[in-house]
Amino acid sequence: FTKRKLDAAAVEELEDLLVMADLGPATAAKLAAAISKERFDKEVDPDEIRGALADEVAAILEPVAKPLTTDSGAKPHVVLVAGVNGSGKTTTIGKFAKHLQAEGKTVMLAAGDTFRAAAIEQLKVWGDRTGATVVAKEQGADAAGLAFDAIERARREGVDVLLIDTAGRLHNKSGLMEELKKIVRVIRKMDETAPHDVLLVLDATTGQNAIAQVETFKEMVNVTGLVVTKLDGTAKGGVLVALAERFALPVHAIGVGEQADDLRPFAARDFARGLMGLED
């Protein structure tokens, strides 16, 4: 390794690296400025300086790295899963079903996406794969009504965790967001402590729009935690740094593939090093 002076050009290179990892121009500039304040004009080794920046990012993310806990004591512990279209909600539910069952919990899935073609069939396949029971009605049925039925049945059968799938919806569609609120209202009527978790599933490929997604979903349905999918690609998901600073919502897990086992805990340090293009 060759040491190099941390001059303006070197700081800009670091900032560019952050921008290209989707941290957004403001967060990237802020982090680059912080590192440059500490070491400007000093001789630094490029890997070391990236490592230092990764540490900085990891410190921001550390507090939000919290696995999903489903021991509210409620039976069922109700987890509502929401997000924009195609982000990975249904797949993530399948993955959680497998994970929770491996922890010894009984899991039920509710096919609350009654809108999209074959969404119900898709969840049923996940039910078959994981052995979790799937509660479903026909396409076009009322999603809130389905949630109601699912909670009733989960109670009757003494299920530990109920995972409720919902149709994808863009946060700027107020009608669809109202429908989601209605699902929450119906759930709350049955158990005022429920839903115990409201997960927002974000696609790591998404850029700065993720901020608007979190803001609106949080305001409308009180999101309690995030899952970031598709981190097996080349997208870095750096917008999470801005999200952590702004909303401090827990990041419960990440998706790294399409199979049931492709769910990982969110590890702040690994994620931060990945953002900086550092292996390990």
Binding site: D16, V19, M20, A21, D22, G24, P25, V84, N85, G86, S87, G88, F115, R116, A117, A118, E121, Q122, K124, V125, W126, R129, Q139, G168, L170, H171, N172, K173, D203, T205, T206, G207, Q208, N209, A210, A212, K230, D232, G233, T234, A235, K236, V239, E258
Partner: protein, 307 residues
């Protein structure tokens, strides 16, 4: 935002002499604001750099007319530069925008359309939207086939969409693999007198060597007249990697941008267009099958600038 960019550039530039030409130093600060606006809109950094260099060159030396303020003039240069980079030709003399680039139906029927892209980008829905339009508006006979043997219920999804759109779908044969399904679809297309066979593929990562080889083999087997990358308008910086990889591997002929009904600024459109030189042909503006629009460079340019 467009207004706020105008305001910003205005406050940066409008204090300058009202006459004479813009100097490089005048333009530099303005370009920093433009850079920021583009990055906030998710335009990929390398594309932003090229764009800024071009626009700066155009702006420097411009005579500031009495009637326009320098800020407005630079905004116009930026806007026109974006439109051009997005593939929009200049509007004709009477101001009407140029016709968007259409779908290529040339070739011995049935012609194949191959739909490719990342997981969840909107391929299956877009396949049905395009098929429906070709059939209803353009009076083409269309067959759709799902080559997605991986995602749970993917073939079922296309079948249901076919019923909703009243477009034929290739009967599902359990266990058949993508290249064989594609060949069967083309054969059914020939025997059934179809004009177009739309091939919906499974979502795949551009770095998944096995699946990229598979889609390349489908292309070889079907010789499509359109290879359309279906991409989410919310995509961030990764758009350049995705578009570039798909283009290198399967040779794209067009891009369809989905979820334009969202509020993302859509900088990915510029990134993908710049890196592939492929026209953006269509926009998905909703989940319903009639929610399909033509691409207009000036509209997306305005949107990227936050207009």
């Amino acid at each position: 935002m467009f207004d706020s960019l105008s305001d910003k550039l205005g406050s940066v530039l409008d204090g300058l002499r009202r006459r004479g030409a813009l100097k490089e130093s005048d333009v530099d600060q303005a370009m920093r604001d433009v850079r920021l606006a583009l990055l906030e809109a998710d335009v990929a950094l390398p594309v932003v750099r090229d764009f800024i260099a071009q626009v700066k060159e155009r702006a420097v030396g411009q005579e500031v007319l009495k009637s326009v303020t320098p800020g407005q003039m630079v905004v116009k240069i930026v806007h026109d530069g974006l439109v051009e980079m997005l593939g929009g030709a200049a509007p004709s003399e009477d101001g009407t925008p140029p016709a968007p680039e259409g779908l290529n139906l040339l070739g011995e029927p049935p012609v194949a359309f191959l739909m490719v892209g990342l997981q969840g980008s909107g391929k299956t829905t877009s396949t049905a939207k395009i098929a429906r339009r070709l059939q209803q508006r353009d009076k083409k006979k269309v067959l759709m086939a799902s080559l997605d043997v991986y995602r749970p219920a993917a073939q079922e999804q296309l079948k249901i969409l076919g019923e909703q759109a009243e477009v034929s779908t290739l009967p599902i044969v359990a266990g058949q693999q993508p290249v064989d399904i594609a060949k069967r679809a083309m054969q059914a297309g020939r025997f059934g007198g179809y004009d177009v066979v739309m091939l919906d593929t499974a979502g795949r990562l551009h770095v998944d060597e096995g699946l990229m080889a598979e889609v390349a083999a489908v292309k070889t087997a079907t010789n499509p007249s359109e290879v359309m990358l279906v991409a989410d308008a919310m995509t961030g910086q990764d758009a350049v990697n995705v578009a570039d990889s798909f283009n290198k591997r399967v040779g794209l002929t067009g891009i369809m941008l989905t979820r334009v009904d969202g509020d993302a600024r859509g900088g990915a459109a510029l990134s993908m267009r710049a890196v592939t030189q492929c026209p953006i042909k269509l926009l998905g503006v909703g989940e319903k099958l009639d929610e399909l629009e033509e691409f207009h460079a000036d509209r997306i340019a305005g949107r990227i600038l936050g207009m």
